[in-house]
């Protein structure tokens, strides 16, 4: 009994599914062709390679086809598709429709496979003698990624999850028994409001480009083992490794910036498992890049270089497993929920783990592992040590992040540390100290051997200057209370000085070396910026007036970090005088205008700015989703978000003229007044000052016969005086009046009638009910000092990477 459903658009889905199958087919074909091309005896026979190239390029076309179909579906709001229904809605602007695209797991897998397809095509053009072996590995990875969005059941096991599943197939509900069910579904579920941020348009593609590009150095390292070209893989892999590190680093910091700008957890890094998952492979590949350089220059540390490059991609896969399998469940707020693809992800992970492992074992005897120790005063030795320290720091992050995995494997029930940030910081600051120090003094070392006397002389200058600068810095930024912070600051400054030294050499003509120096300076700035901003951020909205909830509560005194602001009542907050001025709604967001003022001792206003933290109010769900607003100064930021606001009722708050606005007020009180009278109300009194016989009303032209009288009132409330002039109008035979509101006093005043026989005027006073009298918001504000060092350091570091990529890419073509 088939139902003929009406209004469905099945073509884009069918076409998309066809492209998915095509992408799997072409990637398998590319894998097989490149494999045979690699093992072919006759190196002149290019037929396999030709097929491989064609298949891989077709694969990219198929992937673009999948993307186009999916985008068509989301863009046209075809809610008969589950993906469109669950991730988008009609009210979203176009640029957020792009974010919808990768909000779900399927879309983010598509992004990954797209980048991998594109990068593979570049490798085809550039790799020359490496093409066949490297492309075999990349095609293998492409096969795995393609199956992630297949969504077909084979032998009862679900392979992948397709973005083209129809809503009626994805879930069960009685409406699907109706042929016209689609007409009942007016809108999709929409995009998570936290993701409706411009950073969410750009951050995921960058991050996934970073993840995807890690396959290339991995493939070179594995191909080197496979083809027994143990040493020459480093040179062509080098620019790729630098590229991956640069892009992934940028992606991670973009995520951090998004968290800082759009989320209200009050910081830029929280050691959340999802964040950790992305930084672990980044750190290992950074370590890998350094050892690769050492190996290229001296022949030392072959195994470490290959191992680190390989493990980095394995850790990318491990990171995907962590974030996509739902295993992080109770420890992370960000992770995806499970889609039943755990096994598939694990197979992908194991293949890419065991394949190089087996190759290592087979080739072990022949690997170019040096028996001789490096000289202690040589650059390669300290490159190696630095890489090892980075790797150990990763082990620490992995160990804590993987607690849920250990729980799953061993059936234990261990909870993560109660203060995770403290736990990570205490280890990572120590590691960062060592790494920054090494990145400093190793600049004075040369490969193979260094003149020890010269080394210590040049070192001592930077060493001493760093101590002096550190003393000043820690005093100025106020972090001298903590020994670790002082050491960390010293190490970073030392590194900046040492690398600055190298950079000054670069200005004299050794341009080649500038890339690493710039990147190191950026990294050191980033470390210092993160340290100061994280260590010294200060909640400025401390509540000092809190009303006690008994001694028991006061004893366990957590800092009271939220403060309530009533509309138009300035509140003292640290050095600021803060006033909530009102709200305005634009689209789904309500913006709360908060004014900050700093007055110096002479009563002059030295700082004056408004912030507009916003909250998405969802009256239906009785919830708010708050986003911060930040005032950026060169040396510090003032970060503000609302923690709680009165929920708006859907109908009431619209203050349109004439629209049952009076419901917002208590029962009106009618007074008969003459000039000079005083009328009392709950919060104060008002004086009838006079009559304006020539009152004017906007937009209403008056003729001679019309009478418009204004009543001059002086309202005394909240120790302030407000003026209001309600108007009474006789136009022709009609009596109309125009009320005036004094919101600050919670009043609405109407001049409702003139009583000539009594020689009095009728004034009707509307008062807001007591509890609704004042609008309020609960606010949290944090001052982040020197956070621009963190962002600025990132930019400098990326510039350094770009310089290095150019240098290393030139080495490849030059060779």
């Amino acid at each position: 009994m088939d139902i003929q459903f009406t209004g469905e658009h099945l073509l884009p889905g069918k076409l998309g599914q066809f492209f998915i199958v095509l992408s799997i087919g072409t990637s398998v074909l590319a894998l097989i062709s490149y494999f045979f091309a690699t093992i072919a005896k006759d190196k002149l026979d290019l037929s396999w390679q030709k097929i491989g190239r064609l298949a891989y390029r077709l694969n990219l076309v198929a992937i673009v086809g999948v993307g186009a179909c999916l985008f068509y579906i989301i863009y046209n709001h075809l809610f008969e598709y589950h993906y469109a229904w669950s991730h988008s809605s009609k009210i979203l602007p176009v640029y957020y429709i792009i974010s919808c695209f990768w909000e779900g797991q399927e879309g983010s897998f598509w992004l990954w496979t797209f980048w991998q397809g594109l990068l593979g095509c570049i490798v085809i053009v550039k790799a020359k003698s490496w093409e066949n072996s490297v492309m075999t590995i990349i095609s293998l990875s492409q096969v795995f990624l393609a199956t992630m969005i297949l969504g077909v059941e084979i032998f009862g096991a679900k392979i992948g999850s397709s973005p083209f599943v129809l809503l009626r197939d994805a879930m069960e509900a009685p409406i699907f028994a109706r042929a016209d069910y689609l007409s009942l579904i007016q809108d999709g579920n929409g995009l998570n409001p936290l993701l409706q941020n411009y950073w969410m348009v750009i951050h995921p593609p960058t991050l996934f480009l970073g993840f995807a590009s890690m396959i290339v150095p991995f493939a070179y390292a594995v191909a080197g083992l496979w083809q027994k070209r143990y040493t020459d893989w480093v040179k062509p892999a080098m620019p790729w490794a630098l590229f991956a590190v640069m892009i992934l680093g940028t992606g991670i910091i973009m995520g951090s910036f998004w968290a800082y700008e759009a989320l209200n957890f009050g910081g830029f890094w929280a050691w959340d498992p999802v964040e950790n998952a992305s930084i672990i492979p980044w750190l290992t590949l950074i370590a890998g890049v350094h050892v690769m350089i050492a190996f290229k220059n001296t022949g030392h540390s072959y195994f470490t270089a290959a191992f680190l490059v390989i493990i980095s991609f394995v850790l990318v896969l491990y990171a995907s497993f962590l974030t996509r399998s739902g295993i992080l469940g109770e420890t992370s707020v960000h992770a995806f929920t499970s889609m039943g693809m755990d096994t598939q992800l694990l197979v992908y992970l194991s293949v890419f783990f065991f394949l190089p492992l087996v190759l290592f074992i087979i080739n072990w005897k022949k690997l170019p592992i040096t028996k001789k120790d490096e000289d202690t005063y040589s650059r390669e030795f300290w490159l190696f040590i630095g890489a090892v320290v980075l790797f150990v720091s990763c082990i620490q992050i992995i160990a804590t992040t993987s607690i849920p995995v250990f729980n799953a494997i061993f059936g234990t029930d261990i909870a993560p540390p109660t203060d995770a940030i403290q736990h990570y910081n205490k280890w990572q600051i120590a590691f960062a100290f060592v790494i920054a120090t090494i990145s400093g003094f190793s600049q004075f070392l040369k490969y193979k051997q260094t003149n020890i006397r010269k080394f210590f002389i040049s070192l001592s200058v930077s060493f001493v200057v760093a101590i002096i600068v550190t003393a000043i810095v820690v005093y100025v930024v106020d972090i001298y209370g903590n020994v670790m912070y002082i050491l960390m600051t010293w190490a970073a400054i030392f590194s900046i000085l040492c690398n600055g030294n190298v950079l000054s050499e670069a200005f004299k003509g050794k341009w080649k070396l500038s890339g690493s120096a710039v990147a190191h300076i950026g990294f050191a700035m980033l470390l210092v910026g993160a340290l100061i901003a994280a260590a010294n951020n200060k909640v400025v909205s401390l509540n000092t007036t809190g009303i006690g909830f008994g001694d028991e509560f006061a004893k366990n005194n957590n800092p009271r970090e939220n403060i309530i602001l009533y509309k138009n009542e300035p509140t003292k907050m640290d050095k600021y005088s803060v006033t909530y001025l009102g709200d305005s709604t634009s689209g789904v967001n309500t913006y709360y205008k908060v004014n900050y003022k700093v007055t110096n001792s002479e009563g002059k206003i030295t700082e004056n700015f408004n912030l507009y933290p916003n909250a998405q109010q969802n009256a239906k769900m009785k919830q708010i989703i708050a986003s911060p607003d930040t005032k950026h100064y060169l040396l510090h930021d003032i970060y503000t978000h609302v923690s709680s606001v009165p929920l708006k009722e859907e109908e009431h708050h619209e203050d349109h003229e004439g629209h049952s606005d009076d419901e917002n007020y208590q029962k009106p009180v009618v007074h008969e007044v003459v000039v000079g009278d005083t009328v009392r109300f709950r919060n104060g009194f008002l004086l009838v000052k006079g009559i304006n016989k020539n009152a004017k009303i906007n937009d209403i032209p008056l003729t001679d016969k019309d009478v418009a009288i204004g009543l001059n009132l002086e309202v005394h409330a909240n120790e302030t005086v407000y003026n209001a002039e309600p108007i009474f109008l006789i136009k022709g035979n009609a009596k109309v009046d125009f009320g005036k509101k004094v919101d600050e006093a919670g009043l609405k005043l109407r001049f409702t009638n003139v009583l000539p026989e009594k020689n009095k005027m009728e004034l009707t006073v509307y008062e807001k009910p007591k509890e609704e009298k004042k609008d309020w918001i609960v606010l949290k504000a944090i001052e982040f000092p020197y956070i621009n060092l963190f962002w600025g350091g990132t930019i400098v570091m990326v510039i350094g990477f770009i310089l290095s990529i150019f240098r290393r890419a030139k080495e490849v073509t030059g060779a």
Binding site: S86, L167, A170, M171, A173, P174, I175, L184, I185, Q186, N189, L191, N192, G329, E330, V333, T337, D373, E374, T376, I385, V388, V392, I395, Q396, A399, T400, I414, A415, P416, P417, T418, H423, W427, N543, G546, I547, F549, E552, F553, K555, N556, N557, N558, P559, R560, N562, I563, I564, N618, M621, Q623, I624, I625, A626, S643, S644, W776, V778, K780
Partner: protein, 135 residues
Amino acid sequence: MKKSSIIGMIIIAIAIGAIVSTYADSSTYGSFSEAIKTKKELHVVGKLDLAKEMFYNPQQDANYFSFYVNDNNGENCKVVFTGAKPQDFERSEQIVLTGQMLGNEFHASKILMKCPSKYTEDKIEVTEVSAQGKI
């Protein structure tokens, strides 16, 4: 001894140190009755008790939020959180509290909620008034 083996040993020592510290710092999942016994901070997993009062009145104190939670053993306890009421709190289907017992109240320093948020919930909203209504 070769330098590399010394370095290797130091690394292994640090790595072991890091892992041990992970477990020294790690906490435990427990119930309210266990929280009464121990002085340490721990994690309690439970569900919000919607039948009892949830109290947050920012006009009185913007940093006091109290509610009742049934832990996984079904034990009910009042929880106090020094801070603003988290967004979307009522809709949480599972709550992980970090904190300790103080008198009869559990003082949470951190609340982690798992919400079937609007954006992952598979619930179709039907706009037609008469027909089946909400599913």
